[in-house]
């Protein structure tokens, strides 16, 4: 079967797997962004704590994904749960690191000015610092998203959702007519999704950055 015929026949399945792939990545990135920004906001003032947070998330990122998924199975079983936990763990480093760097990059005189206007520390953080750090934070989120699209393929081996299933089923049917079609469709699908989201992030960055600091 030619590749175009294959796409035509299996379009619905592929679309469903792609949707699930996107869903699991978005869900994980949203959780990781909330967690990462909170961790960054709590620790950025202290070299020691922010170093600890960044060092720990760097160590977690060092653990190979198949190993982490394997270690999560006894705790969480198979499927979506270990997949999401692993993906969240892997996206923490770029998000926490960029949050700390972004919050620190805000000019001290601006913080002084906000304080002088009578804003309390929590409001300075929320109204001044976070908006100004946002372009750096969103870069971390973008990088994490890119990485997760690739890592999520491996999660298919622990019964996770997404296009990884297409790749594994191609591998399992090695020698049969559709093996290569499946592997190509799965791989190309992930690349296309990752590149589409990269473009999407250009827009997200533009429309979520406060007007005053847009470049």
């Amino acid at each position: 079967m030619t590749f175009s015929r294959y796409l035509e026949n299996r379009w619905d399945d592929l679309l469903e797997q792609a949707t699930q792939h996107v869903l699991v990545v978005i869900l994980s990135v949203v959780i990781a962004t909330l967690a990462g920004v909170v961790i960054g906001a709590l620790t950025w003032r202290s070299d020691r704590y922010s170093g600890l947070a960044i060092g720990t998330s760097a160590t977690l990122l060092t653990i190979p994904s198949l190993a982490l998924l394997a270690l999560l199975i006894p705790l969480l079983g198979l499927g979506w749960a270990p997949t999401i936990v692993a993906l969240v763990v892997y996206s923490l480093l770029p998000i926490v690191r960029n949050t700390v760097a972004g919050l620190r990059s805000v000019d001290a005189s601006i913080l002084e000015a906000a304080k002088g206007m009578g804003l309390r520390p929590a409001r300075v953080l929320w109204r001044v610092q976070l908006p100004m750090a946002w372009p750096v934070i969103i870069t971390g989120v973008r990088v994490a998203t890119q990485m997760l699209f690739a890592i999520a393929t491996i999660a298919a081996y622990v019964a996770g959702p997404g296009l990884g299933n297409e790749i594994f089923s191609g591998l399992a049917r090695q020698g049969s007519a559709n093996a290569l079609n499946q592997a190509v469709a799965g791989t190309a699908g992930v690349v296309i999704l990752a590149l589409l989201f990269d473009l999407l992030f250009v827009l997200i960055r533009r429309y979520t950055t406060p007007r005053g600091i847009r470049v």
């Binding site: 990122l61 982490l68 199975i73 890119q146 591998l171 592997a183």
Partner: protein
């Protein structure tokens, strides 16, 4: 040193701390010891005992390290000369093209690449090695280019003023100043290589992925945990060695 490091997924700033940090290797050895004690205290059934015999585990560990280390060496042999070439004046127009290609390449999932190569060229160690090199090449390539580009141009001017030729400037000024950044990239490459080496089990290239996959298929928790912990220990251990190399190989005075 101002290096753009906020748009990568990994930590690529040259590591800062200079005192010898022994907590990591001690912790890793302790983790392996605890694992060993725990596994030997269990009553393994016949299936578990077959997967977890000392010889099979030893071979998986050796294969895994061999695969990751040879991929890393190949990456250095390819990416460093290529990176240097890209920073020469005549190659300037090529830089954005190569970097764009490398960035798109980064979006290709390692698993997909591995399976495609296996379907096209067959399975085994060599195919896995090629996939590892392709997935892990970017950090060293990128950091070689960035590392040389961030060298203060006034230093290059000064060297030229002293009558040095381009090749001597490269060897005596640019490369030594770029080495810390290049070594930071090397560390990321090692981490990626160890990770992808785990997935190499799917194309019959051995390694600790074999034990993990056996644990998943046979639904045996001790096997799963042994495979997972040993893989994590190797990854963290090689990363620590990379950090050590980063400190020892850094030119004095930089």
């Amino acid at each position: 040193m101002s290096v753009k490091t906020l748009d990568t997924a990994y930590q690529v700033t040259p590591s800062r701390w200079s005192r010898r940090n022994l907590t990591v290797p001690i912790g890793l050895i302790a983790a392996v010891a605890v694992l060993w004690l725990w596994v030997s205290s269990l009553n393994l059934d016949s299936i578990e005992a077959r997967v977890l015999n000392a010889e099979a585990v030893r071979r998986a560990v050796v294969d895994h390290i061999l695969l990751a280390v040879s991929a890393t060496l190949l990456v250095v042999a390819i990416a460093v000369p290529l990176g240097i070439m890209l920073t020469r004046r005549w190659a300037k127009p090529l830089v954005p093209v190569v970097m764009a290609l490398a960035n798109i390449g980064q979006a290709v999932p390692a698993l997909g690449l591995l399976v495609l190569l296996a379907l096209w060229f067959g399975i085994g160690f060599k195919i896995a090695l090629i996939a590892l090199v392709v997935t892990a090449v970017l950090p060293v390539l990128r950091n070689t280019v960035v590392g040389i580009q961030q060298v203060d141009q006034s230093l290059v001017e000064a060297a030229r003023g002293m009558g040095m030729r381009a090749s001597r400037i490269l060897r005596l000024v640019e490369l030594p100043l770029a080495v810390p950044v290049m070594l930071a990239g090397l560390r990321t490459t090692i981490v990626i290589a160890v990770g992808v080496a785990t997935v190499a089990t799917f194309v019959n290239a051995g390694g600790l992925g074999d034990i993990i996959v056996a644990g998943i298929k046979l639904q045996r928790t001790p096997v799963l945990i042994t495979g997972g912990v040993l893989t994590a220990v190797i990854a963290l251990g090689l990363d620590w060695l990379g950090g050590l190399a980063e400190r020892l190989l850094r030119p004095k005075g930089v």
